[in-house]
Symmetry: C2
Subunit: 316 residues, 2 copies
């Protein structure tokens, strides 16, 4: 297992710069006064392809040699990695095959196809996803870019917190959602070198709290097919992301489905930005644990904005 380094992150940032946005950091006086903390929202919902995942995907795609790239790339993903990899492959002009759960939001499937990716559907469980993927990979011979358990991807995701640190005058904490752990691992990779005093908090839905339970148990616990409105956070930790989570994460906090939906709607209402339910988990945990964050300068990573606008969780 190759553990990506700080230098890998720096090299990734150089490599992907032509294909990503340096996304803005927004603040909200309303949310600051509500939480008692000073919040700095790193808006990866404004990123190319609508999510931070384009950082890791672009690093993997543009780091391939001509020989390695000739059969294109392939992956399985609950959504944003699929469309980010399709975007990056499209920019390089190579094929991209993705396995997606049939229950993934229609907006994400449409976006994958819009970027030129080819979708093969599976059932919404880890087991089915891995089975269907094995056959797609065997058939196409594409380079496998795992959505998070891949050093190239983690190095790419680490570029986000590098920008966040450059865009703010010092932070006490950074909080990000945790699913498979790619963003959190990249954050650990970057901050443990660049700003080791900054606490790293992961935020997870109660209904998909495998990372929380893994963290408490000291080993990976994986659930098959958890169910949560935060559809990007259903996947389990793997060895590489577990390495970063177990060594560098300060704590993992959880929020209920209703708390996540309320924080999502509040962000839309007050900040006027479209964010996914997954990215509302950090704010939900901050509102729930005000004492923990009060008086602190907190970086909050808004991971993506690819929402199915026809199916909003607060409208029945």
């Amino acid at each position: 297992m190759y553990i990506p380094t700080y230098d890998d992150m720096l090299a990734a940032h150089e490599r992907i710069k032509p294909y990503i946005h340096r996304t803005p950091v927004l603040t909200s006086s309303y949310l600051n006064s509500l939480t008692g903390a000073e919040l700095f929202f790193k808006c990866e919902n404004f990123q190319k392809a609508g999510a931070f995942k384009v950082r890791g995907a672009s690093n993997a795609v543009f780091g391939l040699s001509e020989e390695e790239a000739k059969n294109g790339v392939c992956t399985h993903s609950s959504g944003n990695h699929a469309l980010s990899l399709s975007y990056a492959a499209g920019r390089r002009g190579i094929p991209c095959n993705v396995v997606m759960p049939r229950t993934a939001p229609q907006a994400k499937k449409d976006a994958v196809r819009g970027y030129g990716g080819t979708i093969t559907e599976c059932e919404p469980s880890t087991t089915s996803r891995e089975e269907v993927f094995a056959s797609v990979q065997a058939r196409t011979g594409g380079n496998f870019v795992h959505p998070y358990n891949d050093p190239r991807v983690i190095a790419g995701q680490g570029t986000c917190s590098r920008e966040l640190m450059e865009q703010t005058d010092g932070l006490d904490m950074v909080i990000a959602p945790i699913g498979g752990g790619g963003m959190i691992s990249g954050t650990c990779l970057t901050l443990s070198h660049m700003a080791p005093e900054v606490q790293i908090i992961a935020a997870e839905p109660e209904q998909a709290d495998d990372a929380y339970r893994s963290f408490k148990a000291g080993h990976i616990i994986a659930d098959d097919a958890p169910n949560t409105v935060a559809d990007g956070l259903k996947v389990p930790l793997k060895d590489l992301t577990w390495h970063f989570v177990s060594n560098h994460v300060t704590d993992i906090l959880t929020a209920s489905e209703q708390e996540i939906i309320d924080a999502m709607k509040l962000t839309w209402q007050r900040m006027k930005i479209v964010i996914e339910a997954s990215c509302a988990v950090p704010l939900a945990t901050i509102i729930k644990n005000k004492d923990r964050f009060a008086g602190k300068r907190v970086g909050v990573i808004i991971t993506g904005g690819n929402v199915d606008l026809d199916k909003l969780p607060w409208i029945k």
Copy 2:
């Protein structure tokens, strides 16, 4: 009738700076490629109180002498001016009484009360609004800040296009929605002096096209109680805004209800920002009249983001 000048706009900008945001200008490669134009979105949905109207309202409130301010301010408004005036009055610590149609979005009523404003409801027609307002003004003795037909308000709204010009490297056109004409008049005031070569286009719902018909007829035509999803654009032109519209506007374009809703949803989907239906009218007319805008650098004023998230026009 006092016609506000370019110097009034400059003085307004100095006066209101502590109370407003210098809002960002966003671009979208997707919308550029869809329209063939280069679009620069001035995001007043990120403005204090969620709309550009806080510029004019703050200029009026903070320009009052102590004597003039002692009974507070009052107004009638379909929404954003009401909450902007409440915000500005709250910052100065004086009372604010507003007359709002009972059909105004709940989110806007809640926001007015949140800023400390007092609401008196009227029927959703110009006639009823003016009647109810007369009694509120007589009772409170507050300084009347008209939502648009007021030189202080127009000078304040003009600060928006000043920033837009500073934030872009030259524009061929600026397009903004037109209701009563406050934003368009401020845009005319500023650009006719600062950049007279820039065309000024007003965008209006077909179902509330009184400004379009006035522009063609050469005199003000006012409708009582037009009906459109663009709830900020139902009010008619008045003498002061007619002065600017008739002298400086290049053209008025219109869009249907469905075109407005489609452009609104497309903006949410692609730009990941929450905008009101009113602000989608310019993009709707650009998509409808591509030849007119192709190859041009176009400033698009996104006027506000105060949406009732429980009632989205594309969800039945």
